[in-house]
Symmetry: C2
């Protein structure tokens, strides 16, 4: 059985296709009688307008794309949750694309999206991405783009993030307050905006408290989980090892926990750890993890909201604007004195 179309309805009711179409969209040009007949039959046959025909005709797809590095990640799955909820409110559909931190993949995905498949794009760039010409291309084709979390500063559009600099500053300050003298900073990319800004907060906090910034305490692990693990382990086996770790992303905190367990280092006695994280089990860890928790769900929602706001008025939308939501420092045992 194939789907019922306007033509089927029209034939059944001895009306023209255009009349049926208008009746369904409650046009004032159609008499109440006719409307009712049409609506009843449509319901009876469970008529669903063909989305592709409609999109083709209206040059609107009622669809947005979400392009993210990975999904098995608490931050991103919460963000998607927020995005999807706003999309559902607006009767939009959500396409998901994962780049797996791969620039080539991101390139080909974004490139594909310039086909008009979607009305707008929400993106959090991959850690491997330097060149953002592919994103500018979308821009040029008048497809609104909103960045969230992992943004690029080199493109004029809306960006939704948390206050990464400040959070980095606060996190570092907290470690110092708890007695740390040598604090390492862990990140997954030396280029990613979130990494850079969090690091600037880290550096400034150290300076403001009169502590020297040591480059060898700044670890960028740009590759595999194994690489992260090894680099952290190496950091912690150094005779002059740090007494505090600031993980700029959750997975590095988890790796750090594993390393400490392996090396029989006690958290927080030997090493204190704080991390950006949306881990729901942060409070159940051994020891519970002090986190900077981003409002991931809200970030998703807000990014989607501004995107939808922009879907009406393209031109004025392509502005450079930053929306910054607050993160929360939640103190737990991993940084106890």
């Amino acid at each position: 059985m194939t789907n019922t179309s306007l033509k089927d309805l029209a034939k059944e009711l001895n009306l023209s296709v255009s009349t049926v179409s208008r009746a369904l969209r409650d046009s004032h040009e159609i008499s109440p009688d006719t409307k009712e007949k049409v609506l009843i039959l449509a319901k009876k046959l469970n008529y669903q307008p063909n989305p592709y025909a409609r999109s083709l005709r209206k040059q609107k797809s009622k669809t947005i794309a979400v392009v993210i590095p990975e999904i098995a990640n608490n931050f991103f799955s919460l963000a998607i949750n927020g995005i999807e909820s706003i999309a559902q409110e607006n009767d939009y559909h959500v396409l998901i694309y994962l780049t797996h931190e791969d620039y080539e993949k991101e390139l080909s995905i974004i490139n594909h999206l310039s086909s008009g498949r979607v009305d707008g794009v929400l993106v959090s760039i991959s850690s491997a991405t330097n060149d953002i010409r592919h994103l500018e291309e979308l821009h040029r084709k008048d497809i609104p783009v909103v960045f969230f979390d992992r943004i690029s500063d080199n493109i004029n559009t809306i960006k939704v993030t948390t206050d990464d600099y400040n959070s980095g500053y606060k996190a570092t300050n907290h470690l110092i307050d708890q007695g740390c003298k040598r604090i390492a900073f862990l990140s997954i990319s030396s280029k990613l905006s979130i990494g850079v800004k969090r690091m600037e907060g880290y550096k400034d906090a150290l300076k403001d408290r009169g502590i020297n910034v040591e480059e060898k305490l700044i670890v960028h692990t740009e590759g595999s989980p194994e690489e992260s693990h090894n680099k952290i382990k190496q950091l912690l086996t150094d005779p002059n090892r740090p007494d505090g770790l600031f993980a700029s992303v959750e997975k590095l905190a988890i790796a750090s926990y594993h390393c400490c367990h392996e090396l029989h280092l006690s958290i927080p006695k030997d090493v204190k750890i704080i991390s950006f994280s949306n881990l729901e089990t942060a409070s159940l860890l051994n020891p519970s993890l002090t986190t900077i928790t981003q409002p991931a769900f809200e970030i998703g929602k807000e990014a989607a909201r501004v995107l939808f706001k922009g879907l009406d008025k393209h031109k004025t939308f392509l502005l450079n604007k930053s929306i910054i939501l607050d993160s929360q420092l939640i103190e737990r045992e991993s940084t106890a004195k």
Copy 2:
């Protein structure tokens, strides 16, 4: 700037639209010369065929839908990861829909999908779903449906799950082996297949070891997180409280941990806990959590694979078939003697 179409290419090259179309799809009817000219210009203008025009014409969307209860959930986000990877291999697009365990929402989503928006659907039903007529409707419209994890036995199609009965049996057996005498079973639904089968495994394991099944040790928390929390707390404050908890889903294990902490019950001394879970931090919890870990990523992959296999040959596809992947019991401290 709008997108370039076949017509644009044709005009530029003084060719007809059909020739350009055929050239791009490497038809043998087109001369090598012409093909090359077309391909070069297409690349230069970054021509991307309009997906909606193509879908309309071909009655194929190159898109699948994934309908799941929630996404901020390790199992589902891993499964999506698997699904997306297979979809990308097959050049398909993935639409995500969340039901939030709400039957009405699931109904309206599935109903919408009968419009032909997608070529196939992967679904894990909501805990509130009894009636599956909406899914049968898809079936009737020749839209292949593959269930994964949360399946319905009342519909003839492919289902991908783990061996829930066996896993339930093994988990219960493990608790008994570790010395538990009174084992409670926690689930989020008395109807959901995964809950029922895991429970049957639980019951049979008890019987086989000569332990009576006590109905009051079987807790179904069908509502909010608060309700779950309260019911578990109530269970644990009973003077005759259980000494073992078998959580059939991860979130109930987490709730159980919180309850034990609140009630100052020691895990595993006072209460041992085992849970179905894909928590990446299971080994870092306090104490580390013994889990039945499902191959979530593989389940997603496999479900997507069989769906794609079915997208060719509809008719023969609509078979009743179960694909069962093994879960793994990973013993940790929460069930130590």
